[in-house]
Symmetry: C2
Subunit: 376 residues, 2 copies
């Protein structure tokens, strides 16, 4: 992509909050460069530059890119070879509202290309996870990693960290998506983990370097976690957990939504149970069940067509004897058929049911008679 495009996106990204549908649509209609130039040239009725124009004039996106490069951080935009195409789903009308626009670009730290994330799975959940939840999250993430699915999560306490650790332990690719600049660590306690991920895995943010996390940026970040992944696994989530916001994005983006159940007595599982109960999420208990949903479809061997069975030829001699006692047209009751066959009522009744399943006899007023097929 042209330098102008990249510089315009850096500048627009500093001007607006992530996911702004208005910006996304204007970029789609006008292009980032033209939008940038138009906004920078806007004047109020009194002839003075608008506030937006003034703010754009004060930016130096080239310096921002240079500073990022010195920190080992790149800015990836649509059109770049490694741009994750799955993010384009964020442009769909049904998700565009409310922070749903695609990112202008992604600030990225780490050696892996974002184009390797096509089959990634998000593993998210409560910050205040139980040890049960953390163990299950690690196990599921490890299972995904071993099946070569990258794992995407945030960088919070609880399930997020458990997912990264499970992936790392299995030697897999893991991706942390932040609500703050990728040069920052939030929470601070995870600085070491984030540094490690930045060196060996992938750390992503939509907001510019230096940005502090806000509630709004967390919500926007959640849409990226869902959009980057083919499916989202919620391991533990209380009734108002942020993980439910990610779950909601996964649903709106038509991704697989999976939830891990837990004890009904645990508040940390209430959100997951609710999503399963209402049919929004599929219940999963381990990595294999996640893979069943998100893995590539297996190749099934077509079964060889069978020769048509001639049921009557395969009957035992006793069944044939009973079939022979069934009238062709006027149905007879079971006791007269039994008399005719010279066999007991219970055996005959049982045989008639079997013959019925074989479509050789049928019920009719008065009892049983042969089907047209049996007469043939």
């Amino acid at each position: 992509m042209s330098d102008d495009e990249r510089l315009a996106r850096v500048a627009l990204g500093k001007l607006t909050e992530p996911g702004d549908a208005r910006v996304a649509q204007l970029v789609a209609q006008l292009g980032a460069v033209r939008l940038h130039d138009l906004l920078r040239g806007e004047h109020e009725a009194d002839g003075l530059p608008t506030e937006v124009a003034t703010r754009l004039a004060g930016l130096d996106p080239a310096r921002d890119l240079h500073r990022a490069a010195t920190l080992g951080i790149r800015y990836v935009i649509p059109g770049d070879a490694e741009w994750p195409a799955q993010l384009d789903d964020l442009m769909r009308a049904e998700v565009l509202d409310e922070r749903g626009g695609p990112p202008l670009g992604l600030w990225v730290k780490g050696p892996r290309g974002l184009d390797e994330l096509g089959r990634s799975v998000a593993v998210v959940g409560a910050r205040s996870a139980t040890t049960y939840g953390a163990e299950v999250a690690s196990a599921i993430a490890g299972g995904l990693a071993r099946a070569a699915h990258p794992v995407v999560s945030g960088a919070a306490y609880g399930i997020d960290v458990a997912a990264h650790r499970g992936t790392l332990a299995a030697g897999g690719a893991t991706v942390a998506v932040l609500a703050c600049g990728v040069d920052r660590a939030y929470p601070v306690a995870h600085k070491e983990l984030l540094d490690h991920l930045g060196r060996t895995a992938t750390v992503i943010a939509e907001v510019p370097l230096g940005c502090a996390p806000t509630r709004g940026r967390f919500l926007s970040r959640n849409r990226l976690i869902a959009a980057l992944s083919v499916g989202t696994v919620v391991v533990e989530a209380a009734s108002r957990s942020g993980a439910l916001n990610t779950a909601n994005w996964a649903t709106r983006l038509n991704r697989h939504l999976m939830c891990v159940p837990g004890p009904v007595t645990s508040a940390q599982s209430q959100g997951a149970h609710h999503l399963i109960r209402i049919g929004a999420a599929t219940l999963v208990t381990h990595g294999d069940e996640v893979l069943e949903l998100v893995g590539e479809a297996g190749t099934h061997l077509a079964s060889a067509p069978r020769a048509p069975t001639r049921a009557r030829d395969k009957l035992s001699s006793r069944l044939q004897r009973i079939l022979d006692a069934v009238p062709l047209a006027q149905a007879a009751p079971v006791d007269s058929i039994a008399s005719a066959a010279g066999l007991g009522l219970i055996e005959v009744q049982s045989a008639l049911r079997r013959l019925h399943r074989l479509e050789l006899v049928e019920c009719a007023p008065g009892g049983w008679r042969l089907t047209p097929a049996a007469q043939g």
Copy 2:
């Protein structure tokens, strides 16, 4: 019902295993009295009575009924005022096979009429329940009891007993359905509980007095638990638990099937998780969620019809100004609309989306134009 009918059913019940579809169908076609007489008169080709005829001749159903009465046990048959009509679903073709026939009659101990079981809910699960499972079963049964739903279960260790205890503690009606005669206690450790239920609640069996429980009789018993209830709640069930057989009956009988989740690390919850995962069961976490499914539909107040909104009249002055800048026929791009309105691009883009939702503007090649509605 006639004494003959009752006596014939007692006799046929001693001759056959519960749920025998052949017997059920013969009774439906011929009536119990005629079937009894026909079977008793059957002879082999050599003129000797059949084995069935010989066995029937040796029975004394009148004495059986008398002996039951002295133990406070009655025999309830179809046509009796208290016969639970929901059992007639067992005659439906799709459940008739494999122990699916309706019972010839029910041996009953306890003061409550079976006709009071119309809204009952089964609570079943593992014999080797965890304390978690037992507590949840008691709590759910108690919630059902407080909402005046009788609770139906077996008499096994684990979930069955927990369900009865939870119901009794809440002062509710509870029903134990046995795989052996109602004069027996199985397991023996539950003799005291069964005696108590026989005095204050309801104990039911399909097999005659004195019958020992067998695997087959447990499976037949399970169909009664499912058929008597409007829904079945499985609290804990390992992968091959008998409770899954009851669950299967509930599904085949078109009853509600509900499962309580648990830790994915617990083998006792595997069966329940599987049923939820495949969509066979609804996840429930407490009694209220069970009631939501099995309770009688609430009466919803119809909402008063609203006067049609004339969207354009309700717009703010700025929105009206922007709407006024949108061309009628040939669509215009957002920047020319913004110029025309004398307002900023971002505000105008936002306003156009809002006007679009109000169906006042529409997208067209080249940008935006008014809808026919907005022109009216």
